[in-house]
């Protein structure tokens, strides 16, 4: 009887040991998210309506970058996205575009985002999303304000033409 008990204990231990070690040998794929460093626009920046946006960011991933996306949407009442009542001649500005990127580290600088003349002034969220080749995603959000009085960005000559 004793030997049978001992044998079963050994078997159980062996099973649990095998199952743990058996799986650990498999190579695990990438679960590290890409890193977004948004340089421009910054938090609480005032952007000028009718002008283009100076967009500057750095993306970094441990394996391979895939794509990034910029989204701008209204944030008029400071928190939720409530419907604005009454008629307005202006149009709430909404922007959405994605770009393909690659490599482990890339710096982006462009002026492709243009705020039209009829954009409603006010607070907006600017969101930047980034994915890597494995599907890991990160995003950041900054508060921006669109205004007719907004400063047109001073622009040093481009060091990096992306």
């Amino acid at each position: 009887m004793k030997t049978i008990i001992k044998f079963s204990i050994i078997c159980l231990t062996a099973i649990s040991f095998l199952t743990f070690t058996g799986c650990d040998k498999n190579e695990e794929s990438d679960t590290t998210k890409p890193v977004i460093k948004l340089i421009e626009p910054e938090e609480d920046d005032v952007l000028k309506i009718g002008a283009d946006v100076h967009f500057e960011a750095e993306f970094e991933d441990d394996k391979m970058l895939a794509s990034y996306k910029v989204n701008i949407h209204p944030n008029f009442d400071g928190h939720s996205h409530a419907v604005t009542k009454g008629e307005t001649e202006t149009v709430d500005f909404e922007f959405e575009k994605s770009w393909t990127i690659s490599g482990k580290n890339t710096s982006i600088h462009h002026h492709e985002i243009v705020i039209p003349e009829n954009a409603t002034p006010g607070h907006y969220h600017l969101m930047v999303y980034c994915t890597d080749a494995a599907g890991n995603e990160s995003y950041i959000a900054v508060d921006i304000e669109l205004s007719h009085e907004g400063e047109e960005h001073e622009h040093e000559e481009d060091e990096h033409n992306d």
Partner: protein
């Protein structure tokens, strides 16, 4: 509809005391703690080839938190997935949501358990006996029980005629909980009726941090209280049973109501302006969630010689609402005229019925035949959309045999077939369509996005089964081995959803062609008892084909506030791990207990772990017990969880110190039980990998002082038997 049922059951309740005869003599005695007798426990534990844990009322009170799941977490392998300090949902060995079942009085609890912000609607005060079955339980409960079952049942009726009751009071410092429960029962001859009412109110909970950092934004936490996490719950339950000769029947009605605020930062992009102190830590502001769960059930049982027939029937209505200031991403959606701030509304009606026949052939053979049917209807409302309307029908038939040639060995095996039908209604979002057209998206894209859910009509057929043995070579050893096949039907969200999940900020897309999730599960458990040492270990290994998870596709969604699209996909997955429990009694009054657990998950298609894998953890507990006093100190250690799925964050480990004491003070004619506990003594700031607020980087509640006072009473009646 169900009002009729309540009426019928209430009539029973009210006519019952009338039939009670006058008490001619009162004899007051101290109510002895009702504990699970060893014979009952052993009987259940020996009958199942799966690891089974049974806990009773005294365990529930010793580890009381006011929340059923958080109390059950003391059992190795069980976890509580919390949404703040109010809602919690169960997890067994890394499987949660729809992958485990909770039953009460034989009826499977049906709420919105697929949802991450859903909590189990159970009154923590009313729990009398809990049986936890870890491992594949589809054979007994059909779909959803693949990860295990938590069964709640009632203690047996007292044998003597009596009136008894209990008053319990609860206070907690971390969220200013004030709660209480009153229970009263009467046993007269064949009848036993008990009523319970419980209520808990709690304020915003305290966290050991002044700021939280989310999406690179630093957000203030005023007075170290997490704004708008206050809430309350109110539960009432009636249980009555009748036993005469070979006939047994019970009737139960229960209603659980919970209203809990959501931290504003967890709904939408956190904004410091929303987190300003409103000067009131007890108010429940928008956004909040409100749940009402009504459950009515009955059991009818007849036993004769070798045959026992049991019928369970139940009706449940789960009504869950989420309220949040009206907001839309599309600009053209008008504010609803009624209940403008009602974001989501789900009403799920479930009818269950089951028939079970036990045939005890001889002392060696026992056969069980079972048949059950369940019908569900989910209707939705609110200005937002998350889950479609659907109807679900399932029916299953099972056969289970147990062969026990002697007291030391039993072999059990069974087969079950389930039929499932899922009928999901399509939902067309006109505002979204208009929004997309305004932005000049191509027709094809508009067509793909405008359906928040697609019409799906599917039929499923699944076989489940198990084969295992229990071997007790001698008094001090026990070995169990079981191999099981189990399944789960895909949920409505997994089949049909298409849109941003408001809590996860993800565009989640269902897949109408998903197959049932199926798995082979191997479980073993060994326990031994030698003098003052008791040891149990239970390793498991499971392999699932078509395990359903949300796969990041790398395709950008055009919906506002969405990143890439996540699509429900079935893959091969592996779950393995073990629990261990060592208990040592020494120096007469001391007990040292160490419990540990580990779960390993692996998605063989992605080569990554699965999300919500519980981290390895261990509890070291030293208890000193002397007559009416008990002190305990516990070190809870949680390892860092760095085995995460894609788009899930690593959660660092923590060591937490807890202290506790219980006193049993004789007062007047009764014994007052007092439980003190001091949780997280050092006010350590830490994160819980399984918490809903984890992804918003909100630490867990800080130091908590808990006081529970329980005053039982008993009054024996001398009633002449008719």
């Amino acid at each position: 509809m169900y009002i009729k049922y309540i009426a019928v059951i209430l009539i029973f309740a009210y006519t019952l005391p009338l039939s009670a005869q006058e008490t001619d003599s009162l004899k007051i005695e101290i109510l002895n703690e009702v504990t699970v007798s060893d014979s009952y426990r052993n009987n259940i534990v020996r009958q199942s080839a799966l690891p089974v844990d049974i806990v009773d009322k005294s365990f529930m009170y010793d580890h009381f938190t006011g929340n059923f799941m958080q109390t059950l977490e003391y059992i190795p392998g069980i976890h509580s997935m919390d949404i703040g300090s109010g809602f919690s949902k169960p997890m067994i060995r890394g499987m949660g949501f729809n992958r485990i079942a909770v039953t009460e009085n034989g009826i499977k609890q049906e709420g919105q358990q697929w949802g991450a912000d859903h909590g189990l609607e159970i009154d923590a005060f009313g729990v009398e006996r809990v049986t936890v079955r870890k491992g594949p339980s589809s054979l007994l409960y059909g779909s959803d029980a693949m990860g295990g079952v938590i069964e709640l049942s009632q203690l047996p009726a007292p044998s003597d005629n009596m009136v008894y009751g209990e008053l319990a009071l609860l206070g907690k410092s971390v969220n200013g909980t004030l709660g209480g429960s009153v229970m009263s029962g009467v046993k007269i001859n064949s009848w036993h009726v008990k009523l319970r009412f419980s209520e808990q109110h709690f304020a915003d909970y305290r966290i050991p941090a002044d700021t939280i950092v989310y999406l690179t934004q630093k957000l203030p936490v005023h007075n170290r209280r997490l704004k708008n996490t206050a809430g309350f719950e109110r539960n009432a339950g009636l249980f009555s049973e009748y036993r005469k000769g070979r006939y047994y029947a019970n009737y139960a009605v229960g209603n659980a109501y919970q209203k809990v605020g959501f931290f504003a930062g967890a709904h939408g992009i956190p904004d410091a302006s929303r987190l300003q102190d409103d000067g009131d830590s007890r108010n429940i502001d928008l956004p909040y969630s409100r749940v009402n769960h009504l459950k009515i059930s009955t059991r009818q049982q007849y036993t004769r010689n070798m045959l026992s027939v049991c019928i369970d029937a139940g009706f449940q209505n789960n009504h869950r609402e989420e309220w949040s200031s009206f907001h839309t991403h599309y600009g053209n959606q008008p504010v609803p005229e009624t209940n403008p701030d009602k974001e989501l509304d789900f009403s799920l009606n479930t009818f269950n019925s089951s028939l079970k026949a036990d045939l005890i052939y001889s002392s060696q053979w026992k056969h069980t035949f079972g048949f059950d049917v369940q019908r569900q209807r989910n209707s939705v409302g609110g200005y937002s959309f998350l889950l479609p309307e659907y109807e679900r029908f399932t029916a299953g038939a099972l056969w289970l045999s147990v062969f026990r040639p002697n007291d030391r060995f039993s072999l059990s095996g069974g087969l079950r077939y389930d039929y499932g039908k899922m009928d999901i209604e399509a939902s067309h979002d006109v505002y979204l369509e208009e929004y997309l057209r305004r932005r000049n998206y191509a027709d094809e894209l508009v067509e793909a996005y405008k359906w928040r859910s697609r019409a799906v009509n599917r039929h499923f057929g699944d076989v489940s089964g198990s084969l295992g043995f229990v071997w007790i070579p001698d008094k001090s050893h026990q070995l169990k081995v079981n191999l099981g096949r189990s399944f789960r039907l895909p949920g409505a969200n997994e089949l049909a959803s298409n849109g941003v999940h408001h809590g996860a900020f993800r565009h989640e897309q269902g897949n109408a062609s998903l197959l049932s999730e199926r798995g082979w599960q191997f479980d073993a458990s060994y326990s031994c008892q030698y003098r003052n040492i008791a040891f149990t270990t239970s390793p498991f290994f499971s392999w699932y084909d078509k395990y359903i998870y949300l796969k990041p596709t790398g395709e950008w969604s055009v919906l506002p506030h969405a990143g890439q699209i996540y699509r429900y996909t079935g893959v091969e997955a592996i779950f393995t791990g073990m629990e261990a429990d060592l208990r040592l009694d020494f120096f007469r009054n001391f007990t040292y207990q160490i419990t540990g657990e580990y779960v390993y998950t692996y998605n063989t298609d992605e080569y990554t772990p699965l999300s919500f894998s519980p981290p390895a953890s261990m509890r070291n507990r030293l208890t000193w017990r002397h007559k009416i006093v008990q002190f305990n100190v516990e070190l809870q250690s949680v390892a860092t969880q760095n085995r995460v799925a894609k788009n899930e964050d690593i959660t660092h480990g923590v060591n937490l110190l807890h202290l506790g004491a219980t006193f049993e003070i004789p007062l007047m004619v009764t014994n007052v039980d007092i439980t003190f506990s001091l949780q997280n003594v050092l006010n350590t700031k830490y994160y819980n990998h399984l918490s809903f607020y984890r992804k918003v980087e909100i630490p867990e509640p800080g130091r908590n002082f808990l006081l529970l006072i329980k005053i039982p009473f008993i009054n024996k009646l001398k009633v002449k038997l008719q």
